[in-house]
């Protein structure tokens, strides 16, 4: 399965490099949202719960743009048919797409999080960067797993741009809660407050549960 996953990832990265359909859109959305919050909230800077909420809601909505595009080439250019006729484990498609969405989220955050700090954050990240990275990685993993599952389901429908957010956002509420709760103290004090490790545990548990669920059902989603 590893070779199939590698082939699918490589293909998706080649397509993104050529078309620039997902990452630039997600990035532009994030930065634009931060700019709008900067002016819309009419504050010089944010901290704590509010900053954490703004960060995670923005990143989640940006992720939805990526989910919407994740399977479009497979649907519109026959990728599903080509894949389904190949003698490969169908779960490879789920793994590859989740890895690709995870990579897209990380790429977006490389720019979006510094933009957030510059545009909106008062105390700065300070010493809290390692903890913030841990939250980002676990939250991205959960978003990638659920986003891949819902993306595969929603792309079969005509109203995918509506269906995917409607299905994904409720399922991702636990991710937003846990990520925002874990991030808030980091953005309040720049890492001086104790880090709420239990919220990392919640994120890890969410990732494990939905990862297993997606692994179990993804094959059936590809059936007509």
């Amino acid at each position: 399965m590893r070779a199939t996953v590698a082939a699918l990832i490589r293909k998706d990265l080649q397509l993104e490099r050529r078309s620039f359909e997902s990452v630039p859109a997600m990035l532009m959305f994030s930065v634009t949202a931060f700019v709008l919050f900067h002016f819309g909230l009419d504050r010089g800077a944010l901290a704590g719960d509010l900053a954490s909420g703004v960060l995670w809601v923005t990143l989640l909505l940006a992720a939805v743009l990526g989910m919407n595009r994740l399977f479009v080439a497979e649907r519109e250019q026959g990728g599903f048919d080509g894949f389904l006729m190949a003698p490969v484990d169908r779960t490879a498609l789920f793994v590859a797409k989740a890895v690709v969405l995870f990579a897209f989220l990380c790429a977006v955050e490389l720019v979006a999080v510094p933009a957030f700090v510059v545009l909106l954050l008062e105390p700065g990240i300070g010493q809290a960067l390692p903890e913030l990275l841990a939250v980002l990685v676990l939250a991205n993993l959960g978003i990638a797993i659920v986003g891949t599952l819902i993306g595969a389901l929603g792309v079969q429908t005509r109203a995918r741009d509506l269906i995917i957010p409607l299905m994904a956002l409720p399922l991702l509420v636990p991710v937003v809660i846990a990520a925002a709760e874990a991030t808030a103290p980091l953005l309040e004090s720049g890492g001086a407050d104790p880090f709420p490790v239990r919220w990392l545990g919640v994120l890890a548990l969410y990732d494990a549960v939905f990862g297993l669920l997606a692994y179990a059902v993804f094959d059936f989603l590809l059936e007509e």
Binding site: T4, K11, G78, D81, M85, P87
Partner: protein, 234 residues
């Protein structure tokens, strides 16, 4: 007209009363035939007669809703995994990513099928696409795209070719170039959808005629005349 085919080896396709519907609309109804390995059936029928649905059922991409379908010894859909990688589908869509080059597309499919990249490169040269191999598919003419799609179809040396108007968009030179890959002498059994009665009959061992999803003709090609085929379109 003949109603069955016999052959020494296991048939490539054996259908018994196969049906398929899309919601309320029945696209295929009680289609039954047996295609021996290595032989060709030409499928004729007007638009909407069920030809493409038949091809997608045989490819394992659509489940039959009625009857029994066996492809390369695998009963569909229960054993569809056994036929995967042994059929090659050339439909209306080329199943190629438009933003990838011809070579990238074929190497991607080669990886999925466990085929060496050299095979993809050799096919590109064989169909005369060497000079355009590193151009994105979206920049190719329809004929060139069709040639690339034919390479994709035969890349893994399938035992059953499912061909939907394979020579569409090809000029005579292009058709001659791909003939060794998908023509009658290429080796595998073929299910060949055609609207060209003369050419289809000349290129086939058997004829399947569909009208409104129903099987109107199943006979040896030698027993069917052009007029019989043309009546399907009346």
């Amino acid at each position: 007209m003949a109603t069955a085919a016999t052959g020494g080896s296991a048939p490539a396709v054996a259908l018994e009363g196969v049906g398929r519907a899309y919601g309320e609309r029945v696209a295929l109804r009680e289609v039954s035939f047996t295609l021996p390995a290595g032989q060709t059936v030409a499928v004729f029928g007007a638009n909407g007669a069920g030809k493409t649905t038949l091809l997608r059922v045989l490819a394992g991409l659509l489940r039959p809703h009625a009857g029994r379908a066996i492809v390369l010894g695998a009963e569909l859909p229960r054993e569809a995994w056994r036929a995967r990688g042994r059929t090659g589908l050339l439909g209306h869509e080329p199943l190629l990513y438009r933003d990838l080059t011809v070579r990238e597309n074929l190497r991607f499919h080669a990886r999925l099928h466990g085929v060496a990249a050299a095979r993809a490169d050799a096919l590109i040269e064989a169909v005369g696409l060497g000079a355009r191999a590193d151009d994105p598919v979206r920049t190719l003419s329809r004929g060139m795209t069709q040639r690339a799609a034919i390479c994709r179809t035969v890349l893994h040396e399938p035992e059953l070719l499912l061909l939907d108007e394979p020579f569409a968009n090809l000029d005579p030179g292009g058709a001659a170039t791909v003939a060794p890959l998908i023509g009658r002498s290429s080796g595998p059994a073929r299910v060949l959808i055609s609207h060209d009665a003369e050419q289809g009959l000349a290129d086939a061992d058997w004829v399947l005629g569909l009208r409104g999803g129903r099987q109107a003709i199943w006979a040896r090609a030698a027993e069917v005349g052009v007029a019989d085929v043309r009546r399907l379109y009346a």
